[in-house]
C-alpha cells in the first residue's frame, strides 16, 4: 500500500494482525477473522424504536402526578374541614392542570395540531385516555378552585352561598377522581408499549407514579407551611410504599430484558430517585426532619421520572432486551 494516510495504515495493521492471529480486534472492528457480524440481532440495530420524547415528558409526569394527587388531598381536607389546606391543595392542582397541557403540547412534533387529540376517544389508547382525563381534570379543577375560593371568602350569602358550597364540593370531588387517574394513568401510558423494560413493569409503574404523586403533593404542601399530622402520615405512607417498590424492583429482575433498569446511567437515575423518595425520606421523617424528608421525596420523584424515560431510551435501543423479553 502506497498511501500514508492514517486510515490506510490502520487497515494495514488490522490485516497484519488478522493474518498473524486469525483475529482482528479493536475499535471499529466487529468481525472475527472474517466478515461475520458479532453484534446481537442485525448489526446491533434496535429492534423496536426508542421513545422520541424529550425533557417535557418526565417533567409532565412529575407535575401531573403532583397536581392530580393534590386534588385528592384537597377532597380529604375539605371533608375533614381543613379549609385552608383544601384551598392550597386546589391551587396546586390548578397549577398542575395549567402546566401539564403546556408541557404536553411543547413535546408534540407539530404543536399547532394538538387539538386533533380531541377528535377521537379511544379506550385502547392510553394516550387518548390520558388526554381526556387531563381535559376532565382541568374542567373540574379550575371552576372548583373558583367555587372553593368564593365560598371560603364568603363572597355570597344565603342560598347563593349554599349553591357555591355544593358546587365546590362536587367539583372538588370530580377533581380528586380525575386527578388520581391523571397521576396513575401515566404508568399505563409507558407500561403498555413495546419497550421491554417498560412493559415488564407495567404493574409497578402506575403504583410508583401514583404514590410518588401523592407523596410529592403532601411534601409540597408541607413545604408551603401546612405542617399538620395528616400530611406527615401521608408522607410516611408514600415513602414506605416507595421503599417497598425499590425492593420489588431489585428482586423482580428479568435479566437482559430489563437490564436498562439496573445498569447504565438510566439505572443509576432510577436507583437515586427511589432511594431519595423511599428509604431516605422515610428515615428523615422518623427523625422528625419533615422539611428535609419533603425535599428528599420531591427530588427523588422528579429524578425517577427522568430515570424511567431514560430507561425506555436505553431498553428500546437494545436489541437483546427485546429478544430476551420475548424468550421469557
Amino acid at each position: 500500500m502506497t498511501s500514508n494516510s492514517p486510515s490506510e495504515k490502520r487497515l494495514e495493521e488490522l490485516r497484519e494482525q488478522a493474518w498473524k492471529d486469525g483475529v482482528a480486534v479493536g475499535r471499529g472492528v466487529d468481525v472475527a477473522g472474517g466478515p461475520i457480524p458479532r453484534k446481537p440481532g442485525y448489526y446491533g440495530q434496535p429492534v423496536v424504536k426508542p421513545p422520541v420524547w424529550t425533557w417535557e415528558i418526565p417533567i409532565y409526569l412529575f407535575v401531573g402526578g403532583l397536581g392530580g394527587m393534590s386534588a385528592a388531598i384537597a377532597l380529604a381536607a375539605a371533608i375533614f374541614h381543613h379549609v385552608d389546606l383544601a384551598r392550597a391543595a386546589m391551587w396546586l392542582a390548578a397549577a398542575g392542570a395549567i402546566l401539564s397541557p403546556i408541557l404536553l403540547i411543547m413535546d408534540l412534533g407539530r404543536p399547532r395540531l394538538f387539538i386533533n387529540m380531541l377528535r377521537v376517544f379511544k379506550h385502547q389508547s392510553a394516550m387518548s385516555m390520558g388526554v381526556w382525563i387531563l381535559v376532565m381534570f382541568s374542567a373540574c379543577v379550575v371552576p372548583g378552585l373558583i367555587a372553593l375560593e368564593l365560598h371560603a371568602l364568603h363572597t355570597f350569602t344565603g342560598a347563593m352561598d349554599q349553591f357555591v358550597r355544593i358546587a365546590a364540593g362536587l367539583l372538588v370531588f370530580g377533581s380528586a377522581f380525575f386527578g388520581m387517574l391523571l397521576a396513575t394513568y401515566t404508568g399505563v401510558l409507558i407500561g403498555a408499549t413495546a419497550i421491554p423494560a417498560w412493559f415488564l413493569h407495567r404493574v409497578l409503574l402506575p403504583i410508583h407514579f401514583g404514590i410518588a404523586g401523592l407523596g410529592s403533593a403532601a411534601a409540597l404542601l408541607e413545604l408551603l407551611g401546612h405542617r399538620i399530622a395528616p400530611l406527615n402520615a401521608i408522607g410516611f405512607f408514600a415513602a414506605a410504599i416507595e421503599s417497598a417498590l425499590l425492593v420489588w424492583l431489585t428482586i423482580n429482575k428479568h435479566g437482559a430484558a430489563d437490564r436498562a433498569i439496573h445498569e447504565h446511567s438510566s439505572g443509576g437515575l432510577i436507583r437515586t430517585g427511589e432511594i431519595l423518595s423511599g428509604p431516605l425520606a422515610l428515615i428523615l421523617r422518623f427523625l422528625g426532619l419533615v422539611p428535609f424528608a419533603a425535599i428528599s421525596f420531591l427530588i427523588g420523584a422528579l429524578v425517577s421520572r427522568f430515570g424511567w424515560i431514560a430507561v425506555g431510551k436505553v431498553s428500546g435501543s437494545d436489541p437483546e432486551s427485546v429478544f430476551a423479553a420475548e424468550r421469557l
Binding site: 457480524p37 442485525y42 434496535p46 375533614f80 394516550m127 387517574l181 407500561g191
Partner: protein
C-alpha cells in the same frame, strides 16, 4: 410470477381497493440480489426526503434501519453458513495459525439480502395507540398514517413491536410527524402496484392478494427445503397477539439475525394489568388519604 410478464400481479392493473380485497407483500430473500431498487423507487414515488449519507461499515448496507424517512430497507446479512446445498471451499489460503476454526475444513459463507418494510399488522400497535385517529386501516387491510392529521405525539413510535414507524426530525420536509410505509395507497387507489414491487427486477418482492401470497410463500418454503435450504421458513407471526402480518417474509435462519422480533406482541395486551394497577392505586391513595385525616387530625 417470473415468466408471467405483464400478467404478473407485480405488473398488471388491479381493483383491489375498489373490491376491498386484502393485499400483501411476500418478500423472498432467496432471489433478492441486493440492488436496492425498491429503496430508490419508494423514495422517488413517495418523495421521502434524504436523511443523510452515512457509511455504516456493515456489509453493503448504509441505510441502517426502517424509520420516518426509510420505508424500504435492504438488509445485507453475512453469515458463516452454507446457502442451500452450496459447496464451500476455503476462503483464501489455509492459515495454520488461525485460532477460530479448523483451517483444513470448509469455510462456508453466505450473503443474504432481504428487503424489510412495514409489516401492516393484523393487530397494529401504532394504529391502536394513535390518539388523533391519524392512523387508519384501509380497504385493502394496510395501515396508513394520514399526514395532515398526525400531531407528532410519538406514541405510535413506542407502540410498534417491529420498530418501523418513527417521528421525522427537523429540518426535513414535513418534520414532526410520524411516517412509515403507506403500502403506496395512492397508487393502489388508481389500480397501480406499489412502487417497490413494481420495480423489483427478480420479483423478490411480490405484491398480490394476501391469501394467494400465503399459499405461494408456503410452496416456496417447501421448494427451498427440498433444494437443501433446510433453515428456510416463513416469518408471519400468526400465533402471537399481532395475529399475522400483511407484509410477510421468507427467511433463512432465525428471525433475530434479521432484527425481527421472534414473538412480537401488540402492546394493547398489556392494558388490562396496567389499568387494574392504576385503578387499585387510585383507590388505595384516596383511602390512605382519608384515613390519614381521620386518625391523625
Amino acid at each position: 410470477m417470473i415468466g408471467e410478464g405483464i400478467q404478473s400481479t407485480n405488473q398488471r392493473k388491479h381493483s383491489y381497493v375498489h373490491d376491498h380485497v386484502e393485499v400483501g407483500f411476500f418478500t423472498d430473500p432467496s432471489v433478492c440480489i441486493g440492488c436496492k431498487a425498491c429503496e430508490v423507487a419508494c423514495k422517488e414515488w413517495n418523495e421521502v426526503p434524504d436523511d443523510g449519507f452515512t457509511w455504516s461499515g456493515n456489509s453493503y448496507d448504509n441505510t441502517g434501519h426502517l424509520g420516518a424517512s426509510t420505508w424500504r430497507h435492504v438488509m445485507f446479512l453475512e453469515q458463516d453458513r452454507a446457502k442451500g446445498d452450496q459447496i464451500t471451499g476455503l476462503m483464501g489460503l489455509p492459515n495454520p495459525q488461525s485460532t477460530i476454526r479448523d483451517p483444513q475444513s470448509d469455510d462456508p459463507f453466505r450473503w443474504v439480502f432481504l428487503s424489510d418494510v412495514c409489516k401492516h399488522c393484523e393487530e397494529a400497535g401504532c394504529l391502536e395507540a394513535c390518539p388523533t385517529g391519524s392512523i387508519v386501516r384501509t380497504e385493502v387491510g394496510s395501515v396508513l398514517v394520514q399526514n395532515d392529521v398526525c400531531n407528532g405525539c410519538g406514541y405510535c413510535v413506542v407502540s410498534c413491536p417491529f420498530g418501523v414507524i418513527d417521528r421525522r426530525p427537523e429540518p426535513l420536509v414535513d418534520a414532526g410527524g410520524a411516517f412509515k410505509c403507506t403500502f403506496c395507497y395512492d397508487r393502489q387507489k388508481s389500480g397501480l402496484v406499489p412502487a417497490c414491487a413494481k420495480v423489483c427486477p427478480t420479483e423478490s418482492i411480490v405484491f398480490g392478494r394476501l391469501d394467494d401470497l400465503r399459499v405461494r410463500g408456503a410452496e416456496r418454503v417447501q421448494q427451498l427445503q427440498q433444494n437443501g435450504y433446510t433453515d428456510a421458513q416463513l416469518y408471519d407471526p400468526t400465533e402471537t397477539s399481532v395475529g399475522g402480518i400483511h407484509a410477510f417474509f421468507l427467511i433463512l435462519g432465525e428471525p433475530e439475525a434479521y432484527g425481527l422480533p421472534p414473538k412480537p406482541q401488540v402492546p394493547t395486551i398489556y392494558l388490562k394489568s396496567a389499568w387494574t394497577s392504576a385503578f387499585a392505586t387510585a383507590i388505595a391513595s384516596i383511602i390512605a388519604t382519608l384515613l390519614a385525616f381521620a386518625f391523625f387530625a
